[in-house]
């Protein structure tokens, strides 16, 4: 593979250097870290207070307006689920493709996945009218003898998100075990105890590696269709409905591409400060960024194609309702949202064709933030604008405006996500120790000739 050439880091990057550099990130946190964590917790507090209000008074506090019955909460749900996708993509799919460059970034991406799913999973609970009956969606044996409706895409969603959360968590933990063991062997005090327990007796014997590498392969093989299915199922929440603007066969691939796109952007957004803060420049190089940027470019182009496709199909189908919906989308009262989405998601990433921009970390960071914003608006446009412009019933349409409750919950979700993420990077290796080592040349008595595809399962 072409990447292999640039994967080889400077010779001073040895196994020991890797272990110690990464272990150093777990050292005593700086003031800046606490400031960030404090900010995250404060945001979370805002979210919790808003949630308490919602529980007490009802969802009316949010901006909903007939017929816009789904809005910011579901937008955030899809946004976070989307974010969650790059992690598994990078760790599972690129693993299967033997992309060496993934090793430096996959842990961050995977942690992001888990916490993003955790965040996303809260939204369906918050957004339902009677939050205290959320468990009725679960098929548990009950006195009434009632079961949920498996034909409902929401139940599919529940299964998909539940499975995804479980599998991605397990995947993260599996990857962590050898690294925790490595950290364990350097740590002292309570941390040593913590790592001793969480490393569940990892010593790196050949037997352990034998089962581990096999198992990891199968997990990756299972996670790959899963990651594709999850956002497909999320997209079916919309595509299965008959709302013009939702009801489209393109939705599953369109959403999956969008999810990976937003996920990669989020990885760039998160990696950049971590790399700076933890001094990981040697391990996470411009090369990694460039590869992420290429992924963004690919998925962004798919998303852009999907946008074109949607409008084309609306026109080509000749269906008056579809046409009305897309006309409303582009030129209705929400034109600004639609155009924000198109510019941020379809046009801005075209800059990544330029190698100079692709390899400029600051530029990438800025672009990634715009992509995040654009992807949030994509969901907003799909959900809110399609509902607001209700083209079946000309009488029933409305202009929806979010309220403090919508923003409060959204802020809380960012707080919740960043709190977990910050706690994670300070307590567990944010870059995979063992896998980074795998792409290094192994220590030998005589310098060995460089081998392509050193990494094998």
């Amino acid at each position: 593979m072409a990447e292999q050439r640039t994967t080889t880091p400077p010779t001073r990057v040895t196994y020991d250097y890797v272990t110690r550099t990464i272990a150093r990130t777990l050292g005593s946190p700086s003031k800046g870290y606490f400031l960030l964590l404090g900010a995250a917790v404060a945001l979370l507090a805002v979210g919790i207070i808003t949630l308490l209000y919602l529980l007490r008074y009802g969802l009316g506090l949010a901006g909903y307006s007939h017929p816009v019955y789904w809005a910011v909460f579901i937008t955030c749900f899809v946004f976070w689920v989307g974010i969650a996708h790059s992690g598994t993509l990078i760790s599972a799919i690129l693993f299967l493709f033997r992309s060496g460059w993934r090793t430096a970034v996959y842990r961050t991406a995977e942690a992001m996945t888990v916490f993003a799913v955790m965040t996303a999973g809260l939204f369906p609970l918050i957004h339902i009218g009677r939050q205290w009956y959320f468990y009725w969606l679960i098929p548990y044996p009950n006195e009434r003898g009632l079961w949920p409706n498996f034909k409902s895409p929401l139940i599919w969603d529940e299964f998909a998100i539940g499975t995804y959360f479980t599998v991605s968590t397990v995947f993260l933990i599996m990857g962590l075990i050898p690294d925790i063991a490595a950290v364990r062997d350097l740590a002292t005090g309570w941390r040593k105890k913590l790592y001793a327990i969480t490393s569940i007796g990892w010593t790196g014997t050949n037997e352990q590696w034998r089962h581990y590498t096999r198992g990891y392969l199968y997990l990756a093989a299972l996670a790959t269709p899963l990651v594709l299915s999850v956002h497909s199922v999320v997209s079916w929440d919309f595509a299965m409905a008959i709302v013009p603007g939702w009801h489209a066969t393109i939705f599953a691939p369109y959403f999956v591409a969008g999810a990976i796109y937003s996920g990669c952007a989020m990885v760039i957004t998160l990696l950049t400060p971590i790399r700076k803060l933890f001094g990981l420049e040697e391990l996470i190089t411009v090369h990694h960024y460039e590869n992420l940027a290429k992924l963004c470019l690919l998925t962004g182009s798919i998303v852009g194609y999907a946008y074109v496709c949607e409008y084309f199909m609306a026109w080509y189908s000749g269906n008056p309702h579809e046409r009305a919906a897309f006309w409303y989308r582009a030129f209705g009262p929400y034109w600004w949202a639609s155009w924000t989405m198109i510019i941020c998601n379809a046009f801005l990433p075209l800059l990544l064709w330029v190698k100079k921009i692709r390899t400029n970390i600051t530029a990438l960071f800025v672009i990634s933030i715009f992509v995040n914003i654009g992807m949030w608006f994509e969901r907003y446009v799909i959900i809110v604008v399609s509902l607001a412009g209700e083209p079946y019933e000309p009488w029933a349409n409305a202009v929806y405006n979010p309220t403090w409750a919508d923003w409060g919950i959204m802020a809380g979700s960012f707080g919740w996500f960043f709190m977990w993420f910050l706690l994670f990077v300070k307590n567990f290796p944010a870059v995979s120790i063992s896998e980074v080592k795998e792409v290094l040349p192994p220590p030998t008595r005589q310098p060995a000739p460089p081998r392509a595809g050193a990494k094998h399962a």
Binding site: N142, E143, R144, G145
Partner: protein, 187 residues
């Protein structure tokens, strides 16, 4: 005004005297199951010993969703004349006679003072459930009360026998192969 409500025709045949159940003397109602009522009204005496059909008092059960609780006027229809303490098993026990008479007196006072007793409710369904009594009586006959309310004829103090929960309703509907469509009960 004292005419019998039409539902009385559903009443059971009165058994002969020898078969008659004799309600026990209850000295301390505090030990009995079920909530204490403002007047120690004994279903076992009225419906058990005297075999008054359920639907003499709860006459609307056969024609309406609601069984209703009898008005004081219905009570006084008999208790204008019946002072209590005159039934078979009690006559000999002066203390019991006095106690039962005192309960009847309480009823009479309530009627005189226009102060109806505030009964403690035992069987209650949530507001979102419709239970049409009349359809169940129609389908299962006038004696079907015991299916849900238990052997009230033998209860000195009434208590809830069935859970009255949805699963309990549904089980019976399934057993009897009648509909369990949701909007039969919930609307």
């Amino acid at each position: 005004m004292l005419a019998l409500p039409p539902a009385v025709v559903y009443g059971q045949q009165a058994p002969t005297a020898s078969q008659r159940y004799q309600a026990p003397i209850v000295k301390d109602s505090g030990n009995l199951k079920g909530p204490r009522q403002p007047i120690f009204f004994r279903h076992d005496i009225h419906a058990g010993e005297f075999q008054i059909p359920c639907m003499y008092c709860h006459y609307s059960a056969a024609v309406s969703s609601e069984p209703g609780i009898p008005s004081l006027q219905t009570c006084m229809g008999c208790h204008l004349y019946v002072a209590g303490g005159t039934r078979g098993g009690v006559k000999a026990d002066t203390a019991a006679v006095r106690a039962e008479k005192a309960q009847v007196q309480q009823l009479r006072n309530g009627s005189r003072d226009r102060k109806p007793p505030e009964w403690t409710r035992i069987h209650a369904l949530p507001g979102f459930v419709r239970f049409p009594h009349m359809r169940h009586i129609k389908a299962l006959g006038p004696g079907a009360c015991i299916n849900c309310h238990g052997d009230v004829q033998g209860m000195a103090q009434v208590y809830q026998v069935s859970t009255l929960r949805m699963g309990w309703c549904v089980r019976c509907h399934v057993e009897r192969k009648v509909t369990r469509d949701c909007t039969v009960c919930h609307y």
